[in-house]
């Protein structure tokens, strides 16, 4: 194969495609030059204050997949929780942030203690209520002349 008959490489072919695609735009730009593309103002503009592709090159960059998934799975409750966290007072955040791991474990223990104490209090209230109701019922029956344990007492006799 002669050198002028060689195949295009992939890069060359991509460049050719780009030029082919850009051809009509180039013609229009020639007829109607874009002032944004006019670099003649460069000398009067301080460095960094102006970028020629401003507003055009900044296309939307998609978020990484895991971020998309995370945002899609946020429920209203989750958002409410996040907002509650964001709304924490600065002194609260400071208070939590200053706790070292040992203190946090102690706090865990305290919370656990309070929770189990409340559970115990509920259980005891329930048990006491049952006991009082039972004794009250039996006494009321006894005052009416009935022995609530008549069957049990009859076993021994």
């Amino acid at each position: 194969m002669a050198p002028d008959q060689r195949r295009y490489t992939a890069d060359e072919w991509r460049e050719i495609q780009t030029q082919y695609r850009e051809q009509p735009r180039r013609g229009i730009r020639t007829m109607y030059p874009d002032p944004e593309d006019d670099r003649s103002v460069d000398a009067f503009v301080p460095e960094g204050a102006y970028s020629p592709g401003r507003g055009r090159g900044a296309q939307h960059q998609p978020h990484p997949h895991h971020v998309e998934v995370w945002i899609a799975t946020l429920s209203a409750e989750d958002i409410a929780k996040l907002e509650a966290l964001l709304a924490l007072r600065p002194d609260t955040i400071k208070w939590v942030a200053e706790k070292n791991s040992r203190e946090l474990e102690k706090l865990d223990g305290a919370v656990d203690f309070i929770t189990s104490s409340r559970t115990a209090a509920k259980v005891l209230m329930y048990v006491s209520g049952v006991a009082v109701a039972f004794v009250g019922g039996v006494v009321a029956l006894a005052k009416s002349g009935f022995d609530a344990f008549a069957l049990l007492r009859g076993i021994g006799k």
Binding site: A120, L124, V127, A131, V139, G145
Partner: protein, 156 residues
């Protein structure tokens, strides 16, 4: 974990204590069967002079082992009152069963002539609750007799 097991154990023990106390209290409170039944009562001396003996015979059935306390009083028709000695026992003296009892009481010399009454109000206790708080009672036994018109001995 150990702390939690310990807490649950304590909670269980306390609950068990509450429930068993309530059960015991209910068991005691419901036990209201009268342990002594008076089948018949008669006054052997329907007319008695002041200062003499009043003789009473009762037929009694003891059906349970319980302690008893009986308040006994004599009244005459002239508003006079005489407390007799209480009857107290921890167990039925002759055990369970039907017994016939005869006992004598002194009629005070200052009792006036006319109808008189012997009243006995028993209270029985078969368990600690009844002993200290809620004894078993029944309507009092009332026996009527006559005090003879013997003014010479009643008012010498």
């Amino acid at each position: 974990m150990m702390l939690r097991v310990l807490g649950l154990t304590c909670l269980g023990l306390i609950s068990a204590a509450i429930l068993s106390t309530a059960g015991l209290l209910a068991w005691f409170a419901a036990d209201r069967a009268i342990p002594v039944e008076v089948l018949s009562s008669e006054v052997l001396t329907p007319r008695v002079r002041p200062g003499d003996k009043l003789v009473i015979r009762q037929r009694v059935r003891y059906s349970r082992i319980c302690s008893a306390h009986v308040d006994r009083v004599l009244y005459d028709s002239h508003t006079r009152r005489e407390f007799l000695r209480d009857v107290d026992y921890e167990y039925p003296p002759l055990g369970l069963g039907t017994r016939t009892i005869t006992f004598e009481e002194d009629v005070p010399a200052n009792f006036g002539p006319g109808p008189a009454e012997y009243r006995a109000l028993p209270s029985y206790s078969c368990n600690p609750l009844q002993k200290y708080y809620w004894p078993i009672t029944r309507p009092e036994t009332v026996l009527r007799f006559e005090i003879a018109d013997d003014t010479r001995e009643a008012f010498p």
